[in-house]
Symmetry: C2
């Protein structure tokens, strides 16, 4: 297809498509002349992915490039490529040598503690923030979260396509990026549903 | 306590404390002279809350003020004040008149659909993003998420202090703000745990 059709099908404005081409986020089309190129369905799908990363997640161009790099060059392990791609998504967290709170939690749950996992640093930062705010998490609260996270992760993993490494990594990235705000919204709705009609009575205001 | 002790106990630099005082995020201390004031434990707690909202969540000063306003002037309903405070937290979503995807989902689950809830707009935006990326959520996937969200919400709600409206709203804000990245990290760790050793074999690369 011509670039005009790529714009129409993707809904991404021409100036933005050109910007993504220039920045190397979108691979070039097949040249059909000095100033013309044709694009394929891969380009439509790549644009949809870029929009999720830039618009929904709010990633920078550099971070988006990191994610796309893990999809385009997965290496020998899909598992590790997913890890690299997802590590570029929020929540941001500084890397260190050790994460004592997270280590204790994962060991209690019989899960592998690997300080190289981005999510380990992310979890430590959240646990520290709760402590600093004077509302530390108790073990039973974290256990409930871990149980819920297991349900979520299994539902996610069941839907990862097994057709190719690229498809698997791309799905994992979109599912993680879109699933986070989706789960945050569902959590708030479930809280409202559970609190409606009781919380005011219980704090003596209903 | 003097402002120097407030700085020491909160870990927030003096210039930042003064900035929060100027912006009205931190209430003034009790004046003890033309240029001196004393501060209380309330100020230490308020600073911890502001740091969560600004540093962990990344809220603007205006959004932070909205959250604090709901705590300081809860009105007649704690439930509604929590709703107002939490609505100022991410994920951001444009408000509209109707949210058909979310309405269908909530009706299927027997939950109240109220287009005035910020979380309804947030959920719709996430569902739209998944559709636009070519990876729409199926009902069974969303049902698993809803089940997990119920576990999370009930664990959260059980820990909301019933001592005062202010304490309840403050806890709900911190728990929502810190809980989101914490749950995102736990989701990633559960995904890694569930995928380890299987995903590569299944996509024919192991």
């Amino acid at each position: 297809m011509r670039v005009s059709e790529l714009v129409a099908r993707s809904g991404v404005p021409l100036a933005t498509v050109k910007y993504y081409l220039r920045e190397g986020l979108l691979p070039p089309g097949r040249a059909t002349g000095a100033t013309q190129a044709v694009y394929g369905d891969d380009h439509v799908r790549r644009l949809a992915l870029i929009r999720v990363l830039v618009d929904v997640v709010g990633l920078s161009v550099q971070r988006t490039r990191d994610v796309l790099g893990a999809i385009d060059e997965p290496g020998d392990s899909v598992y590790e490529a997913i890890g690299r791609a997802v590590a570029a998504l929020p929540p941001a967290a500084e890397r260190r040598d050790d994460y004592p709170r997270t280590r204790a939690l994962l060991e209690r749950h019989g899960q592998v503690y690997d300080p190289g996992f981005a999510a380990v640093a992310q979890l430590e930062r959240a646990l520290e923030a709760a402590d600093a705010a004077g509302t530390p998490y108790d073990d039973a609260h974290l256990d409930a979260y871990a149980r819920a996270s297991r349900i979520i992760a299994e539902a996610d993993l069941a839907r990862v396509p097994r057709t190719s490494p690229e498809a698997a990594i791309e799905y994992a990235v979109i599912g993680t990026a879109v699933g986070d705000p989706l789960l945050a919204a569902l959590r708030r709705l479930a809280q409202q549903d559970a609190a409606a009609g009781s919380i005011d009575r219980e704090v003596g205001r209903g």
